[in-house]
């Protein structure tokens, strides 16, 4: 009786009955590709883990060249369970990027970007770029040797963006070189600007997913598919995945704590064989393979331009893949996706081996 009273009190003020009704009516199609639906929820869960652990790290982290490394060292050695929070934050970031890639490619191969879900895809690709920016900015924050030089190389590459490169380089670094000013700036991006933008884009993405429901692959469209209730059936299954993800994160943090390395020294020589994080490696390896000049353009500028155009192309796929939009099979775009997956995997492996 008391629960009912509270429910009607809330309903009167927030309109929760409509939400309950929406959840009751929401259904998830069951077919042989249903498993891929869980990766969106998993990415979202890992993002929440990032927000929570990130907020906890903020209690002790000090964003300056003088204190950043020492504060992370303090978190790892002195703060009760600080090692766990920091390791989970780092592992979860990597797992989130991995699940995001799986989610994105599953949506791509299931042609989930078909009308009317074009904007869901566009907002998803924007989220991908935002998450990569989170990874790039967060990597510098411990202010260790590897992070310092990786940022130097990464911002150098950003300096090769046509037209705005030099401005972008100075904007990212807060000067001509990677210094304490860069660290403060990256900290600002990582904990304020990127989360702000991500919250908006993520909300749009989730609202669009709810509005249009789950997409089914074109081959199954129009067929009489079985469904399951989103609430509680699908959500409970999601929950099993999330609980197991917590277990995996705890195991990774305890068995393979995220290292801290040596404090950054701007006057020290760059460590040999420096490489970026795995999710940037395919681009880095491509740039390494390019000749000094491609025609009249500098090799690196050519590569960066190519990746920029590639990113824009990827974002506009729903508008370019007209056969799929018209209900036809699009072998070109399917082949392109397969080629891209092979390219990313091959370049990443190559990058690690060389």
């Amino acid at each position: 009786m008391r629960v009912e009273t509270w429910r009607s009190w809330l309903d009167e003020r927030l309109g929760t009955a409509a939400v309950r009704e929406f959840l009751r009516a929401k259904e998830v199609p069951i077919h042989r590709h249903t498993i891929w639906y869980y990766f969106g929820g998993m990415t979202l869960f890992l993002f929440v883990v990032q927000v929570v652990t990130g907020a906890l790290l903020l209690l002790y982290y000090r964003p300056s060249a003088e204190n950043a490394f020492e504060s992370v060292q303090f978190i790892m050695t002195e703060v009760e369970f600080g090692w766990l929070i920091r390791s989970i934050h780092s592992w979860s970031a990597n797992l989130m990027i991995a699940t995001l890639f799986v989610h994105m490619f599953s949506a791509y191969f299931m042609k989930a970007y078909r009308p009317p879900r074009e904007l869901t895809w566009v907002s998803g690709t924007v989220l991908l770029f935002l998450v990569l920016a989170f990874g790039f900015s967060g990597y510098l924050l411990p202010w260790n040797k590897l992070a310092f030089f990786a940022t130097k190389v990464g911002t150098d590459i950003a300096g090769d963006v046509p037209l705005i490169g030099p401005f972008l380089l100075r904007f990212l670094r807060g000067g001509d070189e990677v210094t304490g000013a860069t660290l403060t700036r990256f900290f600002g991006f990582h904990v304020a600007i990127l989360p702000g933008i991500t919250t908006i884009v993520l909300t749009v993405h989730l609202v669009l997913v709810q509005k249009h429901g789950m997409s089914v692959p074109p081959s199954l469209e129009g067929k009489n598919l079985r469904t399951m209730k989103f609430f509680p059936n699908f959500l409970l299954r999601d929950l099993v995945g999330w609980v197991l993800a917590v277990g995996a994160l705890a195991a990774l943090a305890a068995l393979f704590p995220w290292g801290l390395g040596e404090k950054a020294d701007p006057f020290a020589p760059a460590p040999a064989g420096i490489k970026p994080e795995w999710y940037f490696l395919f681009m880095f390896q491509t740039l390494r393979l390019l000749p000094a000049r491609v025609g009249i353009i500098e090799g690196e500028v050519f590569g960066v331009t190519l990746f920029l155009l590639g990113g824009i192309f990827w974002m506009l796929v729903p508008f370019l893949d007209t056969p799929t939009s018209s209900g036809w099979r699009s072998r070109f775009f399917t082949g392109l996706g397969v080629g891209l997956v092979f390219y990313i995997v091959a370049m990443t492996v190559w990058g690690y081996l060389t």
Partner: protein
Amino acid sequence: MERMLSAKRWGRGRSKGRRGRALLLLALSGFGMNAAPAQQKKDSCVECHAALEGPLAEPVAVMKEDIHRQRGFSCAECHGGDPSSDDLLAAKDPKTGFIGRPSPRAIPAFCGRCHSDAEFMKRYNPALRVDQEREYFTSIHGKRLRAGDTRVATCTSCHGAHGIRSAHHPLSPVYPLNVAETCARCHADATYMKGYRLPHDQYDRYKRSAHARALYERQDLSAPTCNDCHGNHGAVPPGATSVARVCGQCHVRQSELFHTSPHKAAFDALQLAECVYCHGNHDVLSPTDEMIGTGERSVCISCHTPGDAGYQAAERMRALLDELSHELERARAILDRAERAGMEVSRAKFELSQAHDALTHARVLVHAFSVKELESAIRPGLDVARRGYQAGEKALAELTYRRKGLAVSLLFILVLAALLYLKIRELEGRS
């Protein structure tokens, strides 16, 4: 006029030569003619020798690299003669001060004519010393040359005759990386050294030394080569009582400690060659702790016998060094193990460097040969090393705690997942 001045300069004695040089410089600078344009003037020496073959063409072939040539000096500045004449006899007329090839005995004075003249040298290189000639005659080489031995090294033996490069030029035979090879040209030649009753294996022994490793492998130009211990122009072997001071140029602290130690008087009394007696000379190897104590490789037991105070002190000093080395190694090993397991121990490792510093300090303090002083350096190091070991133990204990915690957490997580799975089954079974 310049030619005449040059001829006068070489035709007369040394004091007149100085006046001549001063006039030459006056002529070069006062009339707006620096040394460089003089190179473009007619120079029959270069013209003729360039057309010759073999050794007679060599001076011209290498003169481009020559520091004197680069400063604007021509052949005639050293050899005299009249370079404006195409006539061989006129150009080499003794009246023009032509010297040709100076005899070995004349070479120090030949070079010293300019290099011993401070007034002259400061116009070209004010930082360069002008006492090389004087110093040379204090060397064994100089003394023997004066005594009539013309096989000894003179200026040209080391610096070359033509194509002389600055001592700072990496290709100069007297550049630090080339000095040992330059000395070895004579001193490693058994046949050449036969008459001098000198060993000829110094070069081979030096190449095995810690000094040579620093110089050639690490390219540390401050590492000693022949001339750093023997001197260069005044080259002599350091005496038994002064060798510690020679080593002490670099090993300052060790030398100070030795001179205030009881060993100084004892070594003097026995006429032992201080540092060299224990460490050797050309083949100085990196010292090890085994050199001290009473073990097989100990140098102490060559004088001290079981039961005497020095023997006991050596034993104790070795024990102290071994104790700190052992503790340090133990702490390093456990911290490395913890680090490999992913634990954050960088601070403990950094602090452990103090123990390493203490060990280094103690190894230097050995030269005071005082157990008390050594103990005062070892004790703080031992404390640091033991703290490092404890930090390693704590890190490994923490690791075990984490793993146990993980096992318990995973159990709860799996139970929760199983319960959720059962709930799903129940829901789906109902529907």
